[in-house]
Symmetry: C2
Subunit: 493 residues, 2 copies
């Protein structure tokens, strides 16, 4: 049977392919998309047949790079979300939601080299779809589609990346992002400074230990590339390589620039000098005087904005944590101005210990600390607008899986138990009888808005963990039907 299918598929393939090949030497359009679809379907059918042959045991697991959240993890997650949402609301933001998938085209050309990590849906007839890769591109699509030119919004939702998962370090293929963005025309650097203030507030409130927020500007990077002699068409790809500096040594980054990307050794060395620089407003001032950097108009515009940014950050009292770092590049293509990234500087100890336990290799722990990132993307909305109308945008994304991991470890270490229900009253029975009385009592408690757990024949329906340890919790054992009076007393809780 399998053999027959194979023969049929093969002859079909050969049958149409041979003449098409010849023809295509001269003219291309001899083959249609429909024909290719047909061939692909045949091959996949064949693959399915092969798969059936070497049938493997069904494995009970979640897909690679994903996980379930159990009730305890959900309780911690809710706490983290509440802190973040409270901050977003303090800043006057509204919230929106978008579908988990977008038209494939919506995502095309937005992520540069990262595009290969996008999950596509199977072509089951109809539109070609992809799972969202971040919340920024859907946001820009939403703005363009609804012709919105001014909004401050947050969006908390899962995004999907076919990356190499490192789950002990909180890196998943399905993970939450908490995005806050400001779209609209503002005086320079004011919304940008607000985004950094938000990162500062959230990381402070979550109490994750010390952190630093690195800041740079795409225009400074581009200007730097220009004055160092990088050809224009290599800016983005060299930028991607610089972005690896948090995971790779300078030597390896340089090797990639020279050997893989074809940059001259001299240009690479000059870049190397700049990307080792870190500082504050003073560094921006110094670079504005730098004989090479000052030749680039772009770089100067970026440096002046960094100065202005630091001025506002001073008014917000957050400069203690912010560093102007020329090695910060951020991988995504769509940034046009300021970019930033927050890293935890203390949590590494915890995670290193954790990784040693899990046998992950030590090298990997370098880039562990990044928990937030973002920047300005003034061109993205225009890419969706039929008339190219631009809406300036700046935003930040809190990557909370890493934060969850730390909070989980903290909760494990704490003697306090995490409650997973909010049960106020347990209704128990000492015997099998009185079922009706019990059900009536419970029903009246529910109707009075009281959160009830039940012990039934040794089975406790409340799995909340610390029920017994909770001093505010009462246990009721109905002996006779005393409903009228008892419920009146209870509703006063």
């Amino acid at each position: 049977m399998l053999g027959m299918i194979w023969v049929r598929a093969c002859s079909a393939l050969v049958g149409f392919r041979a003449p098409t090949c010849v023809r295509s030497l001269h003219s291309f359009p001899g083959i249609t998309v429909a024909q290719i679809d047909e061939e692909v379907a045949k091959l996949l059918e064949l693959k399915a047949q092969l798969g059936d042959d070497g049938k493997t045991q069904f494995v009970l697991k979640t897909p690679k790079g994903t996980r379930d959240y159990n009730p305890k993890q959900m309780a911690i997650r809710e706490k983290v979300f509440n802190t973040i949402i409270r901050c977003f609301k303090r800043h006057g933001a509204e919230t929106i939601d978008t579908p988990v998938f977008e038209l494939k085209e919506t995502l095309t050309g937005k992520y540069g080299e990262d595009s290969k990590l996008i999950y596509d849906l199977k072509d089951q007839g109809g539109e070609l779809l992809s799972l969202r890769y971040d919340l920024t591109v859907p946001f820009a699509r939403y703005l363009a589609m609804n012709k919105i030119t001014n909004i401050k919004r947050y969006h908390i939702a899962k995004v999907y990346r076919r990356d190499n998962p490192a789950m002990t370090r909180g890196r998943y293929r399905e993970f939450y992002q908490c995005d806050f963005d400001i779209a609209g025309q503002y005086d320079a650097m004011i919304p940008d400074a607000e985004c950094l203030k938000i990162v500062h507030e959230i990381l402070n409130e979550l109490d994750l230990g010390d952190f630093r927020i690195k800041v740079n500007d795409r225009r400074i990077l581009d200007g730097m590339f220009a004055v160092c002699g990088v050809p224009d068409d290599k800016f983005r790809t060299i930028c991607s390589t610089v972005d690896k500096l948090d995971k790779m040594s300078w030597e390896d980054v340089k090797k990639e620039m020279v050997n893989e990307k074809g940059l001259s050794e001299e240009a690479a060395d000059q870049i190397g000098e700049y990307v080792s620089m870190q500082g504050g407003m003073d560094l921006a001032e110094r670079l504005l005087q730098d004989h090479k950097m000052s030749q680039s108009k772009q770089a100067c515009a970026g440096l002046s904005d960094i100065k202005l940014l630091f001025k506002y950050l001073q008014l917000f009292h957050v400069t203690d944590k912010v560093v102007f770092d020329l090695s910060l590049a951020r991988g995504l293509d769509y940034y046009t101005g300021v970019i930033y990234e927050a890293v935890l500087t203390q949590a590494s100890a915890v995670s290193a210990a954790n990784e040693a336990q899990n046998g992950a290799n030590a090298e990997e722990s370098v880039s562990v600390g990044s928990v937030a990132g973002g920047g300005r993307y003034d061109g993205l909305v225009g890419m969706f607008d039929p008339k190219g109308r631009r809406v300036p945008c700046v935003g930040v994304s809190i990557g909370i899986e890493r934060i969850f991991s730390i909070m989980e470890q903290k909760a494990e270490a704490s003697p306090e138990k995490v409650r997973t229900t909010e049960v106020q009253i347990m209704v128990a029975s000492a015997q099998k009888n009185l079922l009706e009385e019990r059900l009536q009592l419970i029903s009246e408690l529910w109707n009075a808005g009281i959160k009830v757990g039940v012990w039934q024949g040794g089975v406790r329906t409340d799995q909340g963990g610390d029920t017994v340890n909770n001093p505010t919790l009462r246990v009721w054992v109905p002996c006779v039907s005393t409903r009228g009076s008892s419920v009146a007393a209870l509703s006063g809780l």
Copy 2:
């Protein structure tokens, strides 16, 4: 350029395929899955190239059957979720979360005829994945994987069905489900009754007008099929047809049974008699005496349980809304006992008007009202357990898109505006100056936990709509820097 790629791809295809074809006439394993993957990738690359050629205009939209939620819709959605979550917590439930996709195999064989509506992900190398179709199968997978035999949990998340969308009626391809399930060994019908109580509480609290909860039992249906002469192997498919009674007339259902599913006319007519029956505990008692129905042990077990269920529902004071309805079948394969479905009986007027406006046809409005459904599925967890260990489960799913639609229409009709932010103070400036003072003031308000909106040069960053109408909101126009005292006064808000 395109021509060149084409030639290269073709020669590669021919190069490896010709000899493989010959070999495969005799022995199959000459080709590997990896080779097929490679070929598929090449063809798809080619298709992408072709696609560029016949470029069609990019359409700015969300995928078919999906939608964005704007801030106003989100505010309404949050209100509905809060009501539902409050109810679930009152019943002592914990919450969990699972990935949006599962291994394809996890979903295989769980949904009967509906399986064709599952979204598959593209095979990009690695595991074969599908988007979840409901929250019940992932829950069962979670229980089996973690060997949990007793839990009361809720799960609120989006599910995906490639169904024919009818968005004006709240039927989407991406939609939320709010699931509440009780897993574990209990006395008969006690958790089942609790699920119905929950539906009753939620629909009451949401104030959507009158509703009815239809109840039936898969064992009664199977017993009925048996005594009406339906062959054993046709139970599930005939059940699927009966399930269409809420969308189709009995005549059309009968036609499908007889013409498409090959049932005898007599059997169909006998089924027709039963499925027209509706009642309460009395109907269950009457059917237990029915000379045909009483021949089926299964039916009798189901009917006894329906009697017991009504007894408990009386104790919960919810029988006013519950109807034992023999036409209720529910499409999904996995139910084994009690099944139920809640329908709104008043909302149809609203929706009919709405549809007339949108030009939807009148026939469609028949099944509009279903907003919750569920049942008992004692076999599902066992399908995942390597040793087939069963965990009895019963649950209910609130399908809230329909509820959103109604709440949205209500909000539109109401003179009260929906607030989309929680801003307490607006900081405005009468002129361009005093920027620094303004930023300092805002920063201190943020630090004091106050929710701030900003008017900047005519742009209001708070898009909350009713800011001006909100009596609790104050507008601050800093004239000089009065920070010290002003903030102290404000934090008392």
